[in-house]
Amino acid sequence: MTGYVQFVDTAKSFGPVNVVRKTSLGLDRNSLVVFLGPSGCGKTTLMRMVGGLDEPSSGSILLGGEKVVRPDRRRGMVFQSYSSFPWLTVEKNIAFGMRYRKDLDGAEKAERIGHYLDLFGLADFAGSYPNRISGGMRQRVAIARTLAAGSDVLLMDEPFGALDALTRERLQVELRQIQIREEKTVIFVTHDVEEAVFLADRIILFSRRPASIVADIDVAAELGPDRPLEIRETQKFFELRNKVLHLIRNETGAVV
């Protein structure tokens, strides 16, 4: 097994409750991998272990060959709930990502803030507090903050789950573009099949709890790296979406 992120016989229990069965998996660097599965199946727990926020009960997780033991800025989290700090402006929220970095001086930090404000279309709202901007913008702020921290790996736990359909689509397109442009590895947790197919280079489909891998689908081989919004209306996309839906019904016995 190879990969930038490696799960090596990783399993997790909370007390008597077995949440993740022994799992081995390698994820390539600079790829966008979607963990798809029924709600509560344990996919978030797997992702949190990559973040160092939960510890495996057995086995380990390696990042670039190094064992993950605690959270650090190389693996940033983006949550479903709006996690922008309400007491900081948009600009300062992004700057918070670099607050504890000693390797950047003030000018470098300012340059990075400017870069991410522009990249996420937030420049006009730099001085606004999160309660003055939309939900979509708040999630942009959260992603920008994580990238500004210098994270190699973005761990995204249903980050667009609370957004309206149009904003969600727009952010999905932006995320694909930014992931490729910034060369980041993304683990994206969702139970939305359409979102998974649109975003993923690869979908890892999990069973009901305790989670185990039931399918590993190479989406990039079918759809390629570019994902304009129109791709959702193509025959290939429909077929792939249906294939994933069938797999979910047959392999997990679940309606996601």
Binding site: G51, G52, L53, P71, D72, R73, R75, G76, M77, F79, S81, S83, F85, P86, W87, F96, G97, M98, R99, Y100, R101, Y129, P130, N131, A142, R145, T146, A149, S151, L155
Partner: protein, 260 residues
């Protein structure tokens, strides 16, 4: 302009709300004045507001009331600040580290249910009848309540915020200072405002213990001679101090937490 006042969960402008507050107070005082003048209740039980105002003026000009107010205010603020300085870190530690929580929570829960007057004899035995006893009794009424409120505030800091900070490289101390305390700021100030009010409510108890100064002493002395207007004037003064302090703290809240 006023119609929104009658809408379920409606909103009104600050000016309208202020006008309603003043009007309600004027109506209550007017009814009180009428009831007193009509002789419905004997004046030694309920003197009219005008008699209370006259008593207040006499106390201000002839009985050094401002000095007593200053003494009481100093006592309340010393006890309150002591309570806050101790309760904030202890409350935070109780929620942050289970060993501290497990050790202190049962004890604090036990003590905070004890009525402060029941501890007056003990406090006299421990501290005598000087300032220490008064400060101790005021502190007692505030600290144990505040420490649990702070612990609750800390417990409510969203886990996502803590985890975001940890994944950008913050250590536990930095999470505490840069995230938890910042998040707690508004509710902490609210809780301080509320407990400061409680601290004032213990003033009479604290100032009847061999006191020779303070509003509590003035009220207690007036009571002995059934000078009801003076008793009520003392009570009104405490209420006014509370009202002004509360409004100032609300203003501070609005200034400090503009992002809310």
């Amino acid at each position: 302009m006023f119609s929104s006042l009658f809408v379920f969960r409606g909103r009104a402008s600050p000016m309208v709300e202020f006008a309603v507050s003043v009007a309600a107070a004027v109506i209550v005082v007017a009814l009180w004045e009428l009831a007193a003048r009509a002789g419905i209740i004997a004046p030694q039980f309920l003197p009219s507001p005008s008699r209370v105002v006259i008593a207040l003026w006499t106390m201000l000009t002839e009985q050094n009331l401002l000095w007593h107010v200053a003494v009481s205010t100093a006592r309340v603020w010393i006890a309150f600040l002591l309570a806050a300085v101790m309760a904030i870190p202890i409350g935070i530690m109780m929620s942050s580290y289970r060993i501290v929580g497990a050790a202190l929570e049962p004890m604090i829960d036990f003590i905070r249910y004890l009525p402060v007057p029941a501890l007056v004899p003990l406090s006299i035995i421990w501290f005598g009848v000087g300032e220490e006893t008064k400060i101790f009794l005021l502190w007692l009424g505030t600290f144990f309540q505040l420490v649990l409120l702070v612990a609750d505030d800390m417990r409510r800091v969203p886990q996502e915020f803590v985890e975001v900070a940890r994944t950008v490289g913050a250590n536990s101390r930095q999470v505490m200072i840069d995230v938890a305390l910042r998040w707690m700021g508004p509710t902490l100030l609210d809780n301080l405002r509320i407990t400061l009010g409680w601290c004032w409510t213990y003033l009479i108890i604290a100032e009847i213990v061999a006191a020779d100064s303070g509003i509590g002493y003035v009220i207690w002395t007036a009571r002995r001679f059934v000078k009801t207007p003076e008793v009520m004037a003392g009570v009104v003064v405490i209420g006014l101090i509370g009202l002004v302090t509360d409004q100032l703290l609300r203003l501070l809240h609005r200034r400090l937490f503009r992002y809310l």
